[in-house]
């Protein structure tokens, strides 16, 4: 079993999934081996940390509290996460409220004498203030280096408070791969929240997602399935019973690999082994697999043909407008591969990609979950740079290719804009999925290309923080080690 639930710390992606953050070469070559050595950089810009991604999930649970044991700056992500949480609740018609979060505010004295008393106070206050169904206690670089024993304190306070108090180990320095933070959060949920099924619910399907219920809702309804959206915006009660679902589906292996595999391996909930529904071919494949698993083959075929019919005219129109246009994609691994497939449905040409990391295997090691393979087999090869979210490499690459459009996630679109390249920030809610999503995204691309007035303004009146020298260098000049070939 790849998902090992013993102990509070998750096994890191580096060893579990052979994840790399440095690679340059073709997608086909990247698929040819599963043991590429990582290539590090001699120059870097700010990355991200696993604690940040832990908060991406745990603070978004409606009735759980999070206590972060660290200096106040570690809470830098929280005000904005609160914005995402409030927006998600508003959109879905839930009660709008702030995240339930407390930081222990470690100071200089605490780094010498330890911050354990403060941590205990914070956990007790979290119980008093929020009356949560569970309290997740997370670690940071500072708390880990000074050696505070977070798991022991959690055990002690759990007995005192009578709710699960769950140590979530995620200090930033432990891993190069910030996506490990998703795994740390899901590890805590699988270990301590999910209960064995009381009874199976044959029409219930877990959907691992951010806050985007509207995307799948339509087709699930037609297939007679009840979606259970997890982890953001869910409740502890809901998470306790995800073991009762008939299947789990996810669209982003970076986010969902560990939770989907853990549910399959430890609770007998099978993962849907199909590509994420970006573009027509992947949408067809996913719906057919759902049809097969839930014995709804006929209904699935009906949905596929009616959805395709609905979008046929718009698809034709957008193909005429976008065919031959070039695109550069910078996003997390699986999503970049999926978006690459999607834009090729419009006849666009993917000139290159920057992906943050690449997992060389998956927690459920099934080739049907290899979205890169799906993209290459169905749409052809393309160039991949694994860049650990390094803006200087992405900016350099976009400058080299000068595409008609740049599509980015998690990186400031302003850098592409300063180069005068129309750009779209594709946020955490991938509204580009399935058939109507394809059209929605195509229209967004067409709008961005058709009236780049704002982008041209930005380019004309600003300067990039890079030297001319750098913009003329090869994108991967600062990547150490041997070239990947």
């Amino acid at each position: 079993m790849s998902v090992n639930l013993n102990g509070p710390a998750v096994e890191l992606r580096e060893s579990r999934l052979k994840t790399i953050t440095g690679y340059e070469g073709s997608a086909a070559q990247l698929l040819s081996k599963k043991d590429f050595l990582n290539r590090e950089r001699s120059f870097m810009q700010c990355g991200s940390c696993s604690a940040d991604q832990v908060m991406n999930l745990l603070t978004q649970i409606q009735d759980a509290a999070v206590v972060e044991h660290g200096p106040a700056g570690c809470a830098g992500d929280i005000s904005y996460r609160n914005g995402v949480f409030r927006m998600g609740n508003r959109r879905l018609g839930y009660k709008v409220h702030n995240v339930k979060y407390i930081n222990t505010n470690l100071d200089e004295k605490d780094t010498i004498y330890g911050g354990e008393d403060k941590l205990k106070k914070a956990i007790r206050e979290a119980k008093r203030r929020f009356n949560p169904k569970a309290i997740f206690v997370t670690t940071t670089c500072a708390s880990a280096i000074i050696g505070d024993d977070v798991p022991s304190i959690c055990n002690e306070l759990e007995t005192e408070l009578g709710v699960p108090v769950i140590a979530t180990i995620c200090e930033g320095f432990r891993t190069n791969i910030w996506a490990t933070g998703f795994d740390s959060a899901n590890h805590s949920i699988l270990r301590r929240i999910v209960k064995p099924a009381r009874h199976k619910q044959p029409d219930l399907i877990n959907v691992i997602s951010f806050e985007h219920q509207f995307v799948y809702a339509n087709v699930f309804q037609k297939l007679g399935l009840r979606p259970n959206y997890i982890v953001p915006l869910s409740t502890i009660d809901q998470l306790e019973h995800i073991s009762e679902a008939a299947a789990t589906v996810q669209y982003c292996e970076t986010l969902g690999s560990y939770l989907a595999a853990g549910l399959e391996q430890h609770f007998g909930v099978p993962e849907v082994k199909a590509p994420a529904p970006f573009g027509i071919k992947a949408s067809d494949a996913l719906l057919r697999e759902l049809g097969r698993m839930f014995h709804k083959e006929t209904e699935a075929e009906k949905v596929i043909s009616s959805e395709k019919e609905k979008i046929a005219k718009d698809l034709e129109r957008l193909r005429i407008r976008l065919s031959g246009k070039t695109v550069y994609i910078a996003a997390g691994g699986p999503l970049a591969y999926s978006i690459g497939a999607l834009v090729k449905d419009f006849g666009m040409e993917v000139v290159g990609t920057s992906v943050w990391h690449h997992d060389q295997k998956y927690d459920n090691d099934d080739e049907r979950l290899n979205f890169l393979k799906f993209a290459v087999e169905n749409y052809g090869d393309f160039h991949v740079g694994v860049c650990n979210k390094q803006a200087f490499e992405v900016t350099n690459a976009i400058n080299h290719y000068k595409p008609d459009i740049a599509i980015t996630r998690h990186i400031e679109t302003v850098w592409a804009a300063k180069l005068g390249i129309p750009s779209i920030f594709a946020g955490n809610q991938p509204t580009e999925m399935l058939y109507d999503g394809l059209i929605r995204f195509g229209q967004t691309i067409d709008d961005a290309i058709s009236n780049p007035a704002y982008i041209k303004n930005v380019a004309k009146h600003s300067k990039l923080p890079y030297t001319e020298w750098w913009l003329e260098q090869g994108t991967y000049t600062f990547l150490r080690g041997n070239k990947n070939d």
Binding site: S42, C46, P71, A72, S79, Y101, D110, K118, A142, L464
Partner: protein
């Protein structure tokens, strides 16, 4: 000892990376963990009214992204590599290395590494801003101290009329750029050239080279900037004027300008002409607002809370009490104010107007703030000049809410200002626009 925080606001000392980003063509280099820069950018800049990446902020900031092997073996070599890379890749005039918790706890000798470069003439300084040292206000003063001690050199002669202004904390205070430029315009009106150091058209490194050439330094804040001007007095013998109230509206702005003119020895018919003209214009518009400001049925938000930093809390309290006829309920000052300034700051709120004073709580924790608010009885609509964290509590007490302090995730802020004559009008417009929208939506 610091206490726990619900509703985090002011980041950590490393948040002073924003101070560097606000210097034109300056490049921050972080010797810190992989998540520090990204988190602080979002918490202090994006959540401060969507301020954007700036010239070399957000994900453009060079960083050592310290991982486990650096914790075990030290990160000095890695820092050297990243500085070397930054000098090739980043197009900047001044490089500032800021250290985070990890580098500080494991004891990397950052000063030695940085001096290898500065000895070769590279414009580079370093500053210890480990997160556990304090909030971003503390970090801001540490960055200024480092630049002054390691980079700024004495000059042969003073520039007539030049004054260094230390007021808003750049990028950290969401209205910093509008506020600093408003102060610059006001001071220009009485014949002074303000060196605001940060933001659009502020001069970049030349502004820092000019610091010793100023005739005097001006601190416009209850205490932020005092340490800096004391250092400048010691190093360059520059005198300073400490004006504790950030001026908002007619009375305070006029008082501020007259005080500065007198200190500078430039009081004249021209300065008085400028002041009275601007003041007249301010009252022209304030008078125009009287229909709305006196309407009984609108449930006037006449009693206010400030949940903000010391500077804005004091500035708005003075303005609302003395110009609009409001009453303070209670003021919460949310940054980590050093102990030695607390009593003085409380004193400022004791003399807002004859017979009107306000209690002050220094609180970084939403739990304390909300408990205090809920323990009060509100007979009329309370006004909360606050942050996005207080949207829910405002609703709970049927209050009127306006985000004016970090974090602000419900407004886009470009050049908006609450300082000076214009700032007073802006505040009135914003409060009453919220009130009218609430009644009419």
């Amino acid at each position: 000892m610091t206490d726990i925080i619900q509703g985090p606001r002011h980041g950590c000392a490393l948040g002073a990376l924003q101070t560097v980003v606000a210097i034109e063509r300056a490049i921050p280099i972080l010797h810190a963990g992989p998540g520090c820069g990204s988190k602080l950018h979002r918490g202090l800049s994006r959540a401060g009214g969507y301020q954007g990446a700036g010239y070399a902020g957000a994900d453009a900031m060079p960083c050592t992204n310290m991982v486990e092997k650096d914790v075990v073996f030290g990160g000095e070599d890695k820092l050297r590599d990243v500085i070397e890379g930054a000098l090739q890749i980043m197009d900047g005039d001044l490089f500032i290395v800021l250290t985070g918790c990890t580098a500080a706890i494991i004891g990397d000798d950052v000063g030695s590494v940085v001096r290898e470069f500065s000895k070769q003439g590279v414009p580079i300084v370093h500053v210890e801003t480990a997160g556990f040292k304090g909030d971003a206000y503390k970090g801001h003063e540490l960055v200024l101290q480092a630049i002054i001690e390691q980079y700024v050199k004495p000059v042969a002669k003073k520039q007539k009329g030049l004054v260094n202004v230390f007021a808003s904390v750049p990028r950290h205070d969401p209205f910093w750029e509008g506020d600093l430029n408003e102060l610059k315009k006001l001071l220009a009106g009485i014949g002074l050239k303000a060196n605001i150091l940060f933001g659009y058209n502020s001069g970049g490194i030349q502004a820092f080279h000019d610091i010793p050439a100023a005739e005097f330094n001006l601190v416009v804040s209850p205490y932020i900037g005092l340490k800096t001007v004391e250092l400048l007095q010691e190093k360059f013998q520059t005198p300073f004027l400490h004006y504790p109230v950030l001026p908002v509206g007619g009375i305070e702005t006029t008082k501020f300008l007259r005080t500065v003119a007198e200190f500078a020895g430039i009081t004249s018919v021209q300065t008085e002409k400028f002041i009275t003209e601007k003041e007249d214009e301010f009252y022209h518009y304030l008078v125009r607002a009287s229909d709305v400001l006196t309407e009984y049925q609108l449930n006037q938000p006449k009693r206010f809370y400030n949940i903000s930093d010391a500077a804005y809390s004091l500035a708005f309290s003075k303005f609302l009490v003395n110009e609009v006829g409001y009453f303070p309920i209670h003021q919460f000052i949310t940054e980590d104010v050093p102990e030695k300034y607390k009593e003085t700051i409380q004193g400022y709120f004791q003399e807002l107007a004859p017979g009107i004073s306000s209690d002050v709580t220094f609180a970084q924790d939403s739990g304390i703030i909300e408990d205090t608010i809920l323990s009060n009885k509100h007979l009329t609509t309370p006004l909360l000049l606050a942050t996005s964290w207080e949207l829910d509590i405002a609703k709970e007490i049927s209050g009127l809410h306006l985000s004016v302090s970090l974090p602000i995730i419900d407004r886009l802020i470009l050049h908006h200002t609450y300082v000076g004559y214009n700032g007073g009008l802006n505040l009135v417009e914003d409060i009453y626009s919220r009130l009218l929208a609430k009644h009419r939506e």
